[in-house]
């Protein structure tokens, strides 16, 4: 098991390097000059030159990249060009907010998605099964940000049940916190929920036809035991694969959801950084996303190996 984990960690390194190299190259190809953006109207060539040296922009690109990597290894993401803050400090709180939103959404999506999928698989061709299938297609077709807007309109404006935008300040009560979380989390959860419901249903249906399910039934086990202990456990592998792959999708949704709900998260901060040509923040944000993604995949792979011992040895 340990050998398996070490192998997985090592194989993640080229992916991380690749992602930072791609981002680094692309943002430096971009036309806008961060020095010019920062100085605005008061452009003075002499000061600009000094700033450029200070920001490290006068060195050749490979050297700049090497400096970035060196700092990264020490856990330092550099200094924001636009806001007078270290990137670490700037992104820490926002990253936490994004994680809070994403994890809540993911929990909701996994619980509800699997429940819907199992319920549909118990009685194929029933009205419930049909409804779940409709939800599975509709859920991936609805634009995340439009869904957010419509939920705001219905539950925020018309019914007034939940606040329309924002996140509570630090120190708010749990209830306030949760009411702010409900609409963004439901919005963000819809697409993964639909995908999980669908894969759970098809995976369960496939497993239910196996001989060992018939054996379990034949020896008189109750429906609940058969479903949970025999069927679900075996149907889990494809479901977990899908959940793992969903993470990139979730972050994509997070950028849009955060915009709709004015949620102070990493996604929104990244979009702002890109329009302001704030290179260190862009690189730092992308690196954070990528590291998170790699960790999530690692966890998913470990869960596999734990559920299905065959995987450990291949």
């Amino acid at each position: 098991m340990l050998y398996f984990l070490i192998k997985r960690v090592l194989s993640a390194i080229p992916v991380l390097l690749g992602i930072t190299i791609i981002t680094f190259t692309v943002i430096h190809l971009a036309p806008g000059d961060p020095v010019q953006v920062r100085m605005g109207q008061k452009y003075d060539p002499e000061v600009a030159q000094r700033l450029r040296t200070e920001m490290g922009l006068d060195k050749p690109l490979p050297v700049q990249y090497a400096i970035f990597l060196g700092d990264l290894v020490r856990g330092d993401l550099g200094y924001s060009f636009v806001k007078n803050l270290p990137v670490n400090e700037l992104l820490r709180g926002k990253f936490g907010n994004t994680l809070y939103l994403s994890i809540s959404a993911m929990l909701l999506a996994v619980l509800m998605g699997m429940l819907l999928g199992i319920l549909a698989a118990i009685r194929p061709q029933s009205a419930l099964d049909y409804a779940v299938m409709v939800f599975a297609v509709a859920g991936v077709s609805i634009p995340v940000f439009w869904l957010g807007l419509m939920l705001q309109l219905l539950f925020g404006v018309q019914l007034g049940w939940f606040p329309v935008t924002g996140m509570t300040e630090y120190g708010a009560t749990l209830a306030e916190n949760l009411t702010h979380l409900v609409l963004p989390a439901v919005t963000l959860a819809t697409v993964p929920m639909a995908i999980i419901a669908r894969i759970t249903r098809s995976s369960m249906l496939e497993v239910m036809e196996q001989d060992y399910i018939r054996t379990a039934r034949a020896k008189g086990l109750g429906q609940r035991t058969v479903l949970l202990r025999h069927a679900l456990k075996n149907a889990l592998i494809p479901i977990i694969t899908v959940i793992g792959n969903m993470f990139a999708l979730l972050l994509t949704g997070a950028v849009l959801t955060e915009t709709v709900f004015s949620w102070p998260g990493l996604g929104r901060a990244m979009v702002d950084a890109i329009t302001q040509r704030d290179f260190p923040v862009i690189l730092g944000g992308v690196t954070l996303f990528a590291v998170t993604f790699v960790i999530v995949n690692l966890i998913v792979d470990s869960i596999y190996a734990w559920i299905d011992p065959r995987i450990r040895y291949t």
Partner: protein
């Protein structure tokens, strides 16, 4: 070919999807004919009107005489706005119809770019294997690990003035990973067949074997993934335009309409409801059709998203 259409007509969901797609494609092609107004004309006396079937009368002067246009001097005519007007007095229905042009164009062109990249990389990796497979698949993993919207945003940022071409490229360069993986898998299993050895023994080049013998056998997954990718690209374009990074106003795109209307959601909900509904319906059409094609062309469900 006939069995395909027979099955298509019997598959209710796929057929419904096809009908939706055809309707929107027709609306996009014949937009100048079917839209009641120009998508960018601002009817200054008719702004912020909610949807209504009725003919709207322009306001009158304080003395009761009909209002005239300040520049042309013509009398202001009553107008009909089925989906209401936006804050500038533009017809929402016409903008929704013209928005279909942008969405479908981006959806299709970006998908073609992604398909090309995905097919080339997937077939090279699958056919040659070895180090080439390793390098290309690492590259694919890297792109796959990247939340595609971020990469698309970074690519869009390299354009001073984002427009259609920028969006084509941003989405095409980010959307190929899934296709590359599936094509690689298909080629990997296909190349073990005897017909490949036969082709090689009569002296076919590698390129000819891939293009004439292997890829035609991958047509089913290419069609299915392509259809589903159109849906995804339409969603992404709308998302990017919603963030203000894609198609720029006054060109009507469903995404930028939603970006403009968002601040007035409470006061003018119709301005947000209709473009979003059109977007959701179009994407639904492609998803239903793509899923249906998968059922028809690939009964054993080999192609997973």
């Amino acid at each position: 070919m006939r069995w395909f259409f027979t099955k298509l007509f019997r598959h209710r969901a796929a057929f419904a999807g096809l009908v939706i797609i055809v309707l929107f494609v027709l609306a996009a092609i014949f937009a100048p004919l079917v839209s009641p107004h120009s998508p960018i004309e601002q009817y200054r006396y008719f702004n912020r009107l909610p949807p209504s079937l009725e003919l709207r009368q322009p306001p009158v002067n304080p003395d009761g005489t009909p209002l005239t246009h300040p520049v042309t001097g013509e009398e202001v005519q009553p107008q009909r706005f089925l989906m209401g007007t936006d804050i500038h007095g533009r017809d929402v229905l016409s903008r929704v119809i013209y928005g279909a042009q942008v969405s479908l164009l981006v959806g299709i062109v970006a998908t073609l770019i992604a398909l090309t990249i995905g097919i080339v990389i997937g077939s090279l990796a699958g056919y040659f294997g070895g180090w080439m497979d390793n390098v290309l698949m690492r590259l694919t993993d890297t792109f796959f690990a990247f939340p595609s919207i971020l990469l698309a945003i970074v690519i869009l940022a390299t354009f001073t003035k984002p427009g259609l071409w920028a969006v084509f490229l941003a989405l095409g360069l980010t959307g190929w990973t899934g296709i590359a993986r599936v094509i690689r898998g298909q080629i990997l299993s296909l190349k073990e067949h005897e017909f490949v050895e036969a082709a090689r023994s009569i002296g076919c080049s590698h390129a000819r074997i891939i293009i004439r013998h292997l890829l035609p056998n991958c047509l089913a997954p290419i069609i299915v993934l392509g259809t589903l990718a159109v849906a995804e690209n339409i969603l992404s374009e709308a998302g990017l335009s919603f963030l203000g990074l894609g198609i720029q106003p006054p060109t009507a795109s469903w995404g930028n309409m939603l970006a403009e209307s968002r601040g007035l959601l409470k006061e003018m909900p119709w301005w947000s409801i209709f473009p979003g509904a059109a977007l959701a319906l179009t994407v639904l059409g492609f998803n239903l059709f793509g899923d249906g094609l998968r059922d028809i062309l690939d009964p054993r469900m080999k192609i997973r998203r």
